[in-house]
């Protein structure tokens, strides 16, 4: 719910791609969140948007938010100079059920701007690496120029305990990696479907196709989790803009299991 809170200070801004920026915000007091949760960020005089937290949950004094510049509010946030104060309320929403994945393989699937909301879960899984069997990250973007966190991806690729596969829809002259769509990566990596848990964020069409690929390999419906990021406005389950079937995504989501979502995700009427 709304409460009077002190503004946060923008300590640093880092450009990730032509249209995406990561803001490092300093809260007035140590801030605790779970991987997958989001904050409402307020650009003074313009408006408020829900933005997933993209940093390490172990870091409580500088909280990262990765923002794609797609509208008036996100444009203002992306252009905010360091030192500025920003309104923040949160954290809101459900989180990635990392405990569900313990003991089995964890498959993390990201498309486009879907990698930032998954990055806290990756940090958490790497911090407690011994709790999981295989750890797999599958990531797709439109072009190589749209890939986020490229330095970190390169470091993760170098780890022997993390499988990283990256693909783009359209390559360029310098790209020597995969060209193709994210669902095709599901068939290319080794994991044990019966014990695997999958976390996924990306465009809904990509997620629907990727879910099919996972289910075809035998991953159970209740072990596939999606973050649904539809039109959230109040983040307090009051306005109803983010309703999807019986769910208010700001309260019940954004992370829900495919078993919960299966009936609703493909309905064009909602």
């Amino acid at each position: 719910m709304w409460a009077d809170t002190e503004p946060w200070r923008l300590a640093a801004a880092r450009r990730e791609s032509a249209d995406t920026v990561t803001l490092g915000l300093e809260p007035p007091a140590p801030f605790v969140f779970d991987p997958g949760q989001f904050n409402m960020l307020y650009a003074a005089g313009i408006g408020e948007v829900p933005i997933s937290i993209s940093g390490d949950p172990g870091q409580r004094t500088r909280i990262l938010h990765t923002i794609r510049d797609v509208g008036a509010v996100t444009h203002a946030l992306c252009a905010t100079p360091p030192g500025t104060e920003i309104g923040v309320r949160g954290p809101y929403g459900s989180h990635w059920p990392l405990h569900t994945a313990e003991g089995g393989d964890l498959i993390i699937v990201a498309g486009g701007i879907g990698l930032p909301p998954l990055r806290p879960a990756i940090y958490q899984a790497l911090r407690h690496r011994d709790r999981y069997q295989r750890l797999v990250l599958l990531y797709g973007a439109r072009t190589p120029r749209d890939l986020l966190f490229t330095g970190e991806l390169a470091r993760w690729r170098g780890r022997f305990d993390l499988t990283v596969e990256v693909t783009v829809d359209v390559g360029d002259r310098d790209w020597r990696g995969n060209v193709g769509v994210v669902p095709d990566l599901i068939g290319r990596v080794t994991f044990e479907p019966g014990t695997a848990t999958a976390f996924m964020v990306g465009p809904e069409i990509m997620m629907r196709f990727t879910v099919r690929a996972l289910l075809e390999r035998g991953v159970p419906e209740d072990r596939v989790f999606l973050s649904m990021e539809r039109n959230m406005q109040c983040a307090a389950a009051l306005c109803g803009h983010c309703q999807l079937g019986p769910f208010l995504l700001c309260r019940d989501g954004p992370v829900l299991s495919y078993r919960q979502l299966a009936r609703w995700i493909s309905l064009r009427e909602i």
């Binding site: 020597r176 990696g177 193709g180 290319r188 069409i205």
Partner: protein, 155 residues
Amino acid sequence: MPQTLEPLLRGHAFFAGLDPEYLPLIAGCAKNTVFPAGRFAFREGDPADMFLLIRDGMLALEVAAPGRGPITVQTLTVGDVAGFSWLIERHHRWQFDGRVIERIRAVELDGACLRGKCAADPELGYELMRRFAVLATDRLQATRLQLLDVYGHVG
């Protein structure tokens, strides 16, 4: 003692679950092959007389566009199959350039040889056609998804 390629065929994902009695027949049309990085495994417009079961490496399916250079449509890697034009009547020409990104180790199958065996054994023909139909459908679905440009801005 001559080596047979049956174990390589049996171990490739494309032939998973195939009746083992067909493996010697198919192996009779197969040879082991390697393509160094930077080479073309095949060129657009050339007769498509073979297909590749990729065992290692990476192959880019490219099309050359005037003023834009080569555009990669898809990459293929271990466990993938390159080429189904050999099977389609009146279509036996490569539709794309196949440029080797990382050294390819593959089993190359002779299309004319295999078509002859399929004609003589309709059950084998059906089995191969069924597998290539799945492959072609998967590629079609992936292409549709690429065309949707799902990462683009809305509006």
